[in-house]
């Protein structure tokens, strides 16, 4: 090739490449590498970037009380299950009920049945149950080593999230298959639990990859607590795959899981299910992107003559676009569920036993830059359920960034928990009758917060909230006196603070501290009674404190220590507790890691829940583990 034509070609290539950059520059801060030139290679590796995919999904950017648990925080911790990993988030309260069941909430209402105001997403798939609006955590055993991050938002999720995002959102994101090539074997063994996990990822064509995994666990029974011993030992497995394909403007993800677990309660008891999800993201020019996702999910829980099954099909689309100083998100979704609840144990049943529900929603949000430092976010979501009608969910937020290291934010939002099947259609005649007039539980939330870097080595987040609730569930006489019905007789408020800080003591030692404090103040509305004695409000500690230290003792030795203090559970009479977890890991060689880890180390056993039907004593547990990568 002649030098001239080579130069012309180079110029052409440069011009083509410049085109998108130039367009971007018109709507965004000027693109520059100036400030990067003087950084060391290690500093470059640590700098947070605006990634293309993040821009397509501005959900995590909402000025809100968000804590992000990174994959490395999780694999460095002593957690062996998803709900245990959630103990690392200061804005979540986790109660272990027995060997397999957990109750998790944010900003109050904790308990197996009352923690029904949380939205939990696993790679975009909503996993709360339409039976009681709660989450059966024991149905989800993703491979923790393949988790990219878990976003935990306390407070209403605003406009962009799906139904049930009232008190908080937990969004688990697994890593792109292209980042999990090769093999991983993890095994742990201890007197309380054994686990074994395998994963293998391979490239697909020149731009894709797929991984398959299997995760098995075998957990021992916990001794009796407030509830009699309930044979809670369980064992099972979950397996699945994730494929990521495409490059540049079009990216496709296809993933699925299948699981099967056995419980000791009665022969044949256990849970099984499977799901399949497809997601397509398309980037248009000029920062406009479209994401379309659909999934199918099915599970069947069977225990003590009760069978609960749920099939969900969900499809949703979201369009992100930037016009000048406006960043607009438009979207909508359709979900249909079919449930079936068979109770051969006692007289409680759902009327009808099986039902199909439809939920459609549409939302719009605009994030506008009022000034270079002040953003206003206004959003509205309309949700229509074939079960309970139309709900309007507006949300208004302000974000002020006086400097690059500081964000102040405030918000007002409305959220609702729409009726579950139990709320409206649980029947045990002549005692309990269906309540077709049971309405959504409503929340208007006022929040304000600060997030920033007060010092070079310190990060701090502080959030305050004031929540006004109405129409919270009560159990009332509606006959003479029977039958009783579930009604909306409670109203009240909660307020509190969540704060967390991290300090980098040296390049190898990080310490963090977290606090959540909550005040609850509820009363019965005129004429209302509550035969359930406010069970729907749950049992919450006034405060919990988390402290954590992560040290790299040497290049090959890691030590993580965590301490959590949880106040007593108020009216339930259950005392508070302080517990510790620890993990010491030795990287024998690059592919081999050995570790010893323990949970709840300070006491032989303690109790985390006052649930008279479920809560067992949580015991100290220690395990040895290894991870091999090849």
């Amino acid at each position: 090739m002649k030098p001239g034509s080579r130069a012309a070609h180079a110029a052409g290539a440069a011009l083509l490449a410049l085109a998108p950059t130039t367009l971007l520059a018109e709507t965004d801060a000027p693109e520059t590498v100036e400030e990067l030139r003087d950084l060391s290679i290690e500093q470059l590796a640590q700098i947070e970037v605006r990634s293309a995919s993040k821009q397509a999904e501005p959900i995590g950017r909402a000025p809100t009380s968000i804590f992000v648990l990174t994959g490395s925080d999780i694999v460095r911790s002593a957690a062996t299950s998803l709900p245990e990993a959630l103990r690392l988030a200061p804005n979540l309260q986790v109660q272990q009920l027995d060997a397999r069941q957990f109750a998790v909430t944010s900003r109050g209402f904790n308990g197996a049945e009352s923690s029904n105001k949380l939205l939990v997403l696993i790679d975009g798939r909503s996993v709360y149950s339409t039976l009681h609006s709660g989450v059966f955590w024991e149905l989800h055993s993703p491979l923790l080593e393949d988790v990219e991050q878990i976003e935990v938002i306390s407070g209403p999720g605003g406009t962009l999230y799906g139904p049930n995002a009232v008190n908080g959102i937990v969004s688990v994101a697994s890593r792109d298959a292209r980042e999990t090539l090769g093999g991983l074997v993890r095994g742990t063994a201890g007197p309380r639990e054994r686990t074994l996990a395998l994963r293998y990822g391979i490239g697909l064509g020149d731009s894709g990859a797929v991984r398959v995994y299997a995760n098995g666990l075998d957990r021992e029974d916990l001794p009796a607590g407030p509830a009699a011993d309930n044979d809670d030992a369980f064992a099972g497995w979950q397996a699945g795959f994730r494929a990521d394909l495409g490059k540049g403007a079009d990216r496709v993800t296809l993933q699925g899981d299948i699981f099967d677990t056995d419980i000791d309660t009665m022969p044949g008891d256990g849970d099984r299910g499977h799901n399949l999800l497809a997601r397509w993201t398309h980037d248009f020019a000029e920062e406009r992107s479209l994401r379309v996702q659909a999934y199918y999910d099915e599970y069947r829980r069977h225990s003590q003559l009760v069978t609960d099954s749920l099939q969900t099909f969900d499809a949703e689309a979201q369009l992100n676009a930037r016009f000048g100083s406006h960043h607009v998100v438009l979207g909508g979704g359709l979900r249909t569920t079919r449930d079936d609840f068979v109770n051969n144990l006692n007289g409680f049943h759902l009327e009808p036993q099986s039902r199909r529900l439809w939920v459609v929603n549409a939302f719009a949000q605009d994030r506008m830059a009022l000034t270079p430092k002040l953003d206003l976010i206004a959003g509205l979501k309309l949700e229509r359920s074939s079960f309970s009608g139309v709900e309007t969910l507006p949300n208004l937020r302000l974000a002020w960034r006086p400097s690059a290291r500081t964000t102040w934010w405030g918000s007002v939002s409305r959220a609702v928990r729409t009726p579950s099947r139990i709320d409206r259609q649980l029947v045990f005649l002549p005692l309990l009758a269906e309540a077709s007039n049971f309405e959504s539980e409503k929340l208007i939330a006022f929040e304000a917060g600060y997030r920033g870097q007060p010092g070079l080595a310190t990060t701090l987040s502080v959030s305050l909230f004031y929540n006004l609730y109405d129409d919270i569930r009560t159990t009332e006489f509606t006959g003479n006196p029977f039958p009783i019905r579930l009604q909306n007789g409670l109203e009240g408020r909660t307020y509190g603070i969540e704060a967390w800080a991290t300090h980098q003591l040296s390049s190898k030692w990080r310490a963090s501290l977290g606090l959540a404090a909550l005040n609850k103040d509820f009363h019965l509305k005129d004429g209302a009674v509550d035969l359930a004695n406010r069970a729907s409000l749950g049992a919450d500690p006034d405060y919990q404190v988390l402290a954590r230290s992560q040290v790299d003792l040497t290049d090959r030795l890691q030590l993580d220590l965590g301490l959590r203090g949880v106040d007593d559970l108020g009216t339930s009479g259950l005392g508070g507790y302080v517990e510790a977890d620890a993990r010491l890991a030795w990287r024998v060689s690059d592919p081999i890691e050995l570790y010893v880890a323990g949970n709840n180390l300070l006491h032989k056993s303690h109790v985390e829940s006052s649930d008279p039907g479920r809560a067992q004593s949580v015991e100290r547990s220690v395990h040895l583990g290894t991870r091999l990568r090849f």
């Binding site: 700098i47 292209r178 870097q453």
Partner: protein, 181 residues
Amino acid sequence: MAGPVASSPWRLLRLLPAASALLAVPAAAAAPPSEVAVKAAFLTKFPAYVAWPAAARPRPGAPLQICILGDDPFGRLIDEAARGQQVDGHPLQVRRLNAPGQAGGCHVAFVQGSGPAMLQGLQGKPVLTVTDARAGARGGMIHFVVHQGRVRFHIDEAQAARSGVGISSRLLGIALSVRRP
């Protein structure tokens, strides 16, 4: 994790993914750098940590060549990142090429488009090949990924060794994974 104390402030940013994402709003003067800018900066830093066989080293004073093969995601960013930079007295020069056959004289080759064919053309040659997870599966000696909101990379030291390219332990130390020879 290895890394000088000086990197602490940057490392801290990772604790604030949401906060830093907040900064990424339109017209924010303090926006964090884009993914592509950081990759461009990396490309110009790599040569300082790489040893080429004597025959492939640039002559004294001659430029060290960073080549973009095929699609160019960087535009002027890579030119800006390379401007005025020197490695062992060699100025950095950015070239844009359409085929591996033109890659004679390249010391670093970033290959994004039509990956395998391009890469095969460079196989066994003393060129530090760099690929990107955004564009395809692993293939280059260094493979960029975005990991927990940061631009990181995997290193295939085995492949580099086969081509006679040595990679310093400082670079290996910050790789997410290293495939040893």
